[in-house]
């Protein structure tokens, strides 16, 4: 190595080391750290920030055993957060992640990006099909994690659940078990649709069978964050109101003072849910009705329990396909919206409103936890252009909040609107006729 006193050359726009280049793998440095001076070496060799490890050690082999008798036939007891062994009827409670990992604490001291182990990046080469060797009989059992997380061995009836955190995004940190039972969900959907029958599509009404509702565990990222926001713009305060002219020519005028307005707010958010599925996060009302599922948020995510596939027995699930970095723009957008909402009360003296012209956000720290949230989903496919429209009616599996999209019989609604319009026009013409 030569002692070169010249300054290093200015990096070229492209080529090695430029942003256009493929970034090196995380952790790789290019030089053996042992050859570097101790202070730099110590810094390089210091451990990376570790994610919160929520993978349950005792559930690694896929067989989920009753702590009392060791049987694998475990289900969630409907309407509770309890797991029940179908063999010995032993019941036990999963650990709440809130206390177990301290997810509700330290929001004010949040710095950097903390990612729980179930919210880690998805590896592209990991298959969604998981194969287990049955510990009971040695047969191979396959679980397709795209839609389900448990399977039964066809030979010895052992039940398997995907509990180890494979890098395909299927295993979250926590799960919020269903509280609303199926009968309850069916009743809510029926009640919701009964209020929307008159102009509903005829086929929808004929085929309406709320008993076909399915319980789905949807993937979400639950985000805690600490941020500050600055907004700037102009506000106006009314100083004078006066009218000019008389009779029909009377017009009202306003005078106002214009102010330059700036606001700053520091805030923390607790448990903001973001869809971690690309498909579900797309709320384009022209193409889908995912906004329905979005509307039944939020959930009481504080009560989520540590991941255990037994909670999903009998339900389907959707797989996460979005990483933290994909969701960051969405988070920032929502934090900005929250900030704008927070500053509203402080500009109430501007009685003619405020026009915000610029806004800035500084995210100090975020904590990401991946979670399965329970949704009762009824769907109806309305045929039409571009593949038609899939209408959802969704019931929040915890709070029972119900929202839905009921397809419309267009001609009926148009006829009603035109009839009412004609009636109103008739009244208008009558008034005009009698006054002239």
């Amino acid at each position: 190595m030569s002692n070169n006193t010249n300054p290093p050359p200015v990096p070229p726009y492209s080529g090695p080391g430029s942003p256009q280049d493929v970034p090196p793998l995380p952790g790789s440095f290019g030089v053996d750290p042992a050859t570097l001076p101790p202070p730099i070496r110590d810094e390089l060799l210091a451990p990376d920030p570790v994610a919160i490890d929520t993978s349950a050690e005792e559930l690694k082999d896929g067989a989920n055993r009753c702590p009392k008798c060791g049987a694998t036939d475990i289900k969630q007891r409907p309407g509770t957060d309890l797991l029940i062994c179908l063999y010995c009827r032993n019941e036990w409670h999963g650990q709440r992640v809130e206390e177990e990992f301290g997810f509700g604490e330290g929001l004010d001291d949040l710095t950097g990006t903390i990612i729980a182990s179930g919210a880690q990046n998805i590896a592209a080469d990991v298959s969604s099909l998981m194969t287990y060797k049955c510990t009971g009989c040695g047969a191979e059992v396959t679980v397709n994690t795209e839609s389900t997380m448990t399977a039964r061995c066809h030979w010895c009836r052992h039940v398997f659940g995907v509990n180890e955190q494979v890098a395909n995004g299927a295993v979250p940190d926590a799960v919020l078990p269903f509280h609303i039972k199926k009968d309850d969900a069916v009743a809510r959907i029926r009640q919701f649709v009964d209020k929307r029958r008159m102009f509903a599509l005829k086929e929808f009404k004929e085929q309406f069978t709320p008993e076909n509702v399915v319980g789905v565990y949807m993937p979400y990222m639950i985000v805690d964050g600490k941020a500050s926001a600055d907004v700037a713009g102009h506000g106006e305060i009314l100083t004078r109101t006066y009218t000019q002219g008389s009779g029909d020519k009377k017009k009202t005028y306003y005078d106002a003072d214009v102010y330059q307005v700036e606001r700053h707010v520091d805030f923390t958010v607790d448990d903001l849910p973001l869809e971690s599925s690309d498909k579900r996060g797309n709320l384009d009302i022209g193409a889908n009705t995912n906004n329905i599922i979005n509307t039944i948020l939020p959930f009481d995510t504080k009560n989520a329990v540590k991941w255990n596939a037994s909670y999903l027995s009998g339900f389907t699930s959707e797989k996460r396909d979005r990483d933290v970095e994909h969701l960051r723009p969405r988070l920032e957008e929502q934090l900005l919206s929250i900030a704008r909402c927070e500053v509203e009360a402080s500009v109430s003296r501007f009685d003619r409103g405020v026009r915000w012209e610029s806004e800035g956000l500084d995210v100090h720290g975020t904590r990401w936890v991946s979670m399965y949230l329970p949704v009762w989903l009824y769907s109806y496919h309305q045929p039409g252009r571009n593949g038609g429209m899939l209408h959802y009616i969704a019931v929040n599996g915890r709070t029972g909040e119900t929202m839905g999209s009921v397809p419309i019989q267009q001609w009926k609604l148009l006829t009603a609107a035109i009839t009412v319009g004609t009636f109103l026009e008739g009244i208008a013409l009558w008034i005009l006729g009698s006054s002239s």
Binding site: D248, V261, E262, E333, I338, E357
Partner: protein, 88 residues
């Protein structure tokens, strides 16, 4: 009756019909609904600062508008020019 008032009255029919159509459409399809995270998330905010720096920069005389042009104080989700800080 004046021409203005007469015209407004004549528009009553089409406006009423269209208004009813959209109101019912939204009631059935709920296309305007989404998660109200601004209200429904637990937000712990420190007191908002900056009010002391409000300063009068201009005056408006004799406008017929009841609100400031481009009022977006309640449109939280309408993004405006983003200032990018050097951190984060």
């Amino acid at each position: 009756m004046s021409d203005d008032g007469g015209l407004a009255l004549l528009l009553l029919g089409p406006a009423g019909g269209a208004g009813l159509y959209w109101a019912l459409y939204r009631y059935y399809r709920n296309t305007d609904k989404s998660h109200a995270f601004e209200r429904e998330t637990t937000v712990d905010a420190k007191p908002v600062t900056g009010a002391e720096r409000d300063r009068k920069v201009d005056e408006v005389k004799g406008t017929r508008e009841t609100r400031i042009d481009g009022d977006n104080v309640r449109e939280y989700r309408k993004r405006v020019a983003r200032i990018r800080g050097d951190s984060s």
